[in-house]
């Protein structure tokens, strides 16, 4: 194996177009032996396309690829693997219905007299995973294991298959902190063994925790590549944005004037076994309740309970002093609730319908099928919100699936605004969207608060919560641990609360 630091994989002038739209334009990437290289960029910058070209899933239109000085031409994932380039794709990586061993050795099972040698496959799988510190039953179906374990198995497979270069597309997207550390400890060891790793991630903290070099893409162009020490966070963000940020500020908001009277929405001893332990929550009009917690802490589960998607098995709800039941989203919506889910693609947008239809959908559903919103009325509504939220392109009849993530998110917000909600529950409203839309959504949250809407916002971006929340509830282990108010709301306290909780739990 080449010595550490020698150039291993080199891409020069990569071009790629889809239907005459240039997605990659003369992109360069240099990967050295034994480094962890972060590939960053906003959504649509071309990261995934670049990775797919380097790993044989797509063909490039122009440019050269060199591996250890030799020109290569991977035409398929299998060919890239044969060239020692392995990949773990986001979300879709392994097969839940197969056993662990079958997943590890699919397509290259050890054969004996032309038959799969299951005994050897099992032994090999056990030995391979032992090297990653995992003790799993190779004959168990993969679906029996957690996402983090599956991720490690996927990495083990990819490294075992290829051996020199490993591409990871958002490997930590759905892992909690402990699981991220587990994955990172494995990556560090692989790096020490001389493997070159390219990692795509949205989490800047994680980039600084693990990467040696950073390459930034913007609008299909390579806009910068530097060693981690030479690229402070501020510079990195401006590179990604392509402009100087006014300030990556985290100001404490002007003191929110919330009336002290009884809260409009009172949840008492509200909980569900296996989901969230019973909690109390008061939500007033004109305030934002922030919910902080790691993935798996019960934060999305809290939203699901509040919105009636999961039925609470304990506790009571009062709205304006009157007891109500919340046993379905229909109930919640009838009380003026709205909910923007974290999983926008699967739980949010109705992909084939137009922006207009997506915007009126919640209102129409509330009215019932027998009282349709006429075409003109729906068009007027859609045009209003397209303008108000700056949804681009401003075409109400375009299927929403052709919009970018940020614009889809705005359309989903518009969908709820059209119902004139009293309580909006937003689960990770800024996740996976570009920084421009990010800022607009934060402004919108502040504006809604000022207009007197009650909001519950779940976010893993602590600074965001600090910026707009009047109270922050910290969750851990499916428990509402602490409620922070006033001066307690700052990043350090929140993180401390979360860290302490995690420490206690462990």
């Amino acid at each position: 194996m080449a010595e550490h630091g020698a150039v291993l994989l080199e891409a020069r002038g990569i071009d790629k177009s889809f239907f005459n739209v240039k997605v990659l334009d003369g992109v360069d990437l240099t990967l050295r032996t034994g480094e962890i290289h972060a590939l960053l960029g906003e959504n649509g910058a071309g990261k995934s396309t670049l990775v797919k070209i380097l790993t044989g899933a797509y063909r490039r239109d122009a440019g050269t690829l060199r591996l250890a000085g030799e020109e290569i031409e991977p035409l398929s994932v299998a060919e890239a693997q044969a060239l020692s380039i392995g990949t773990v794709y986001q979300e879709v990586n392994l097969l839940d219905n197969l056993t662990v061993a079958e997943n590890l050795y699919l397509g290259r099972q050890p054969l004996r007299f032309g038959m799969v040698d299951r005994r050897r496959m099992r032994a090999d799988a056990r030995a391979l995973l032992a090297r990653y510190g995992l003790d799993v039953d190779p004959d168990e179906t993969l679906s029996a294991y957690s996402v983090a374990i599956r991720q490690v198995i996927a990495i083990a497979r990819a490294v075992d298959l290829s051996g020199r270069v490993l591409f990871l597309d958002e490997p930590t997207a759905s892992l909690d902190a402990r699981e991220v550390e587990m994955v990172f400890s494995i990556l560090r060891r692989l790096r020490a063994e001389g493997l070159s790793i390219v990692i795509i991630t949205h989490f800047l903290d994680q980039v600084y925790a693990i990467a040696d070099r950073i390459t930034v893409l913007r609008n299909g162009r390579m806009v910068g590549s530097a060693a981690i020490a030479d690229l402070p966070r501020r510079d990195l963000v401006s590179l990604m944005l392509g402009r100087e940020l006014e300030a990556e500020t985290h100001r404490r908001p002007v003191e929110v004037a919330v009336d002290d009277g009884p809260a409009a929405f009172r949840f008492r001893n509200f909980g569900r076994r296996g989901s969230v332990r019973p909690f109390d929550m008061d939500i007033r009009h004109g305030e934002v309740i922030g919910i902080a917690g790691l993935l798996g802490s019960g934060r999305s589960e809290t939203a699901f309970l509040l919105f009636g998607i999961d039925k609470a098995d304990s506790g009571t709800v009062e709205i304006d002093g009157k007891p109500v039941t919340l046993s379905s989203p229909v109930d919640a919506i009838s009380h003026g609730f709205g909910f923007c889910p974290e999983e926008r693609k699967t739980d949010g947008i109705v992909a084939d319908l137009s922006v207009r239809e997506n915007i009126v959908l919640a209102l129409q559903a509330r009215r019932g099928w027998a009282r349709p919103i006429g075409y003109r009325e729906s068009l007027a509504l859609a045009e209003h919100y397209i303008k108000a939220l700056d949804i681009r392109p401003p075409d109400p009849e375009r299927p929403i699936k052709f919009l970018s993530g940020g614009n889809q998110q705005k359309a989903i917000l518009a969908r709820w605004l059209a119902t004139d909600p009293r309580l909006l529950i937003l689960d990770e409203p800024t996740r996976g969207i570009d920084i421009g839309a990010h800022a607009e959504i934060i402004r919108l949250i502040e504006k809604l608060r000022e207009e007197g809407v009650a909001l519950v916002v779940i976010s893993s971006e602590i600074e965001e919560l600090v910026a707009y929340a009047s109270r922050v509830v910290v969750l851990s282990d499916r428990t509402h641990l602490r409620e922070l108010t006033g001066d307690e709301i700052n990043a350090a306290t929140i993180v401390n609360a979360m860290a302490m909780a995690a420490g206690e739990a462990a």
Partner: protein, 345 residues
């Protein structure tokens, strides 16, 4: 205008088929009035298309919810058997109609419950009734071909009103009623939303279970109507053969009508034209003196051609071509297919 554009491929196909048959059979297009009633091959096509057209109405809604109803042929057999039994038992016409429709509705509700409440895959859920249904129908008829002689009931199958044969009238009215109900209310939009993304629709308060059950219930009702027409037409119930494989013709009609098997956007009118196209092919082959055995082969060819045109691979290639030639087409995608497709399953 927009509607016409949507229907253009189906209309063109129908005209082409009719034109081809006219070339082989002169006088094919002529229509005459005898005894105050319309006669002619075109009328014949509309009459014979009735069962498939009726099934296609319900099937369109079911397919729009991303479902499929394999049981409609069996439901036709069941309702036909029940109608024949009641008629043979000299029950009044109203009772026959109501009970038969009620049974069709019950079958639809059963399917809908399996799909919406038990969350079974539609093809699996409706397979149960498809397999068991004919057994049930035979149970009703006692395994014999049940015949009857009742002019009132037979009128449904062979009578005419204002010169228009009853079967034609029934499917026209059924199509019109269902079409109006669906499009003048919000049912259509909500069904499309559920078909595209059921989970997201449920989360915005769309009562997806109700909508899915409703689609299968309408499908059951349509099947009951079709079953009665067939029974009335032949003056008897044949549990073995009534509606046999008609579910496939109905699905074909919907597919020809351009409604995607993966749910979402639908057009009942287009499906009805699809049913007419299928029947025109059948009748055309018969009249031009080809052996009727060709029917199946022509249908197979039709499926292959239409689905090839609709297949994602070809559609991508076509929209690529369109983009190249700069024609304004709203549906063309600039997104790499892989990215969107990755979450398809």
């Amino acid at each position: 205008m927009r509607k016409l554009k949507r229907l253009a491929p189906q209309i063109v196909a129908l005209v082409l088929v009719l034109f081809a048959v006219t070339l082989a059979v002169p006088g094919f297009l002529s229509i005459s009035v005898q005894n105050g009633r319309l006669y002619g091959s075109l009328v014949d096509i509309c009459v014979r298309a009735a069962p498939v057209a009726l099934l296609a109405i319900g099937m369109t809604l079911v397919i729009a919810t991303r479902g499929i109803d394999l049981s409609v042929g069996a439901v036709m057999a069941i309702t036909g058997a029940i109608a024949a039994t009641l008629v043979a038992d000299n029950q009044p016409l109203v009772v026959v109609l109501l009970v038969s429709l009620g049974i069709g509705l019950a079958c639809g509700l059963w399917n809908g419950a399996l799909v919406a409440l038990l969350d079974l895959q539609p093809i699996i859920a409706t397979l149960i009734l498809m397999v068991a249904g004919r057994g049930i129908a035979q149970l009703v008829t006692g395994g014999t071909i049940l015949t009857f002689n009742d002019p009132a009931f037979s009128f449904i199958g062979s009578g005419a009103l204002f010169g228009v044969p009853m079967p034609v009238l029934i499917w026209l009215v059924a199509g019109l009623v269902v079409g109006l109900v669906v499009r003048r209310s919000a049912l259509g939009l909500l069904i499309e939303a559920v078909g595209v993304n059921r989970r997201a629709s449920s989360l915005v308060g769309v009562r997806s279970r109700f909508l899915i059950v409703a689609a299968y219930a309408i499908s059951g009702l349509c099947a009951a109507l079709a079953g009665m027409i067939v029974t009335a037409d032949i003056h008897g119930a044949d549990a073995n053969n009534a509606g046999l494989w008609l579910e496939l013709d109905a699905i074909l009609a919907v597919v020809i009508g351009g409604t995607s098997l993966s749910g979402g956007r639908f057009s009942i009118t287009a499906s009805l034209i699809g049913a007419l196209i299928i029947q025109s092919l059948n009748t055309g082959i018969l009249m031009s003196g080809w052996p009727p055995e060709f029917n199946l082969i022509v249908k197979a060819a039709a499926i292959v051609v239409i689905l090839t045109l609709q297949s994602p691979t070809v559609a991508t290639a076509l929209s690529g071509l369109r983009a190249t030639f700069g024609s304004a087409s709203r549906s063309n995608s600039h997104e790499p297919t892989g990215k969107a497709g990755a979450r398809a399953k």
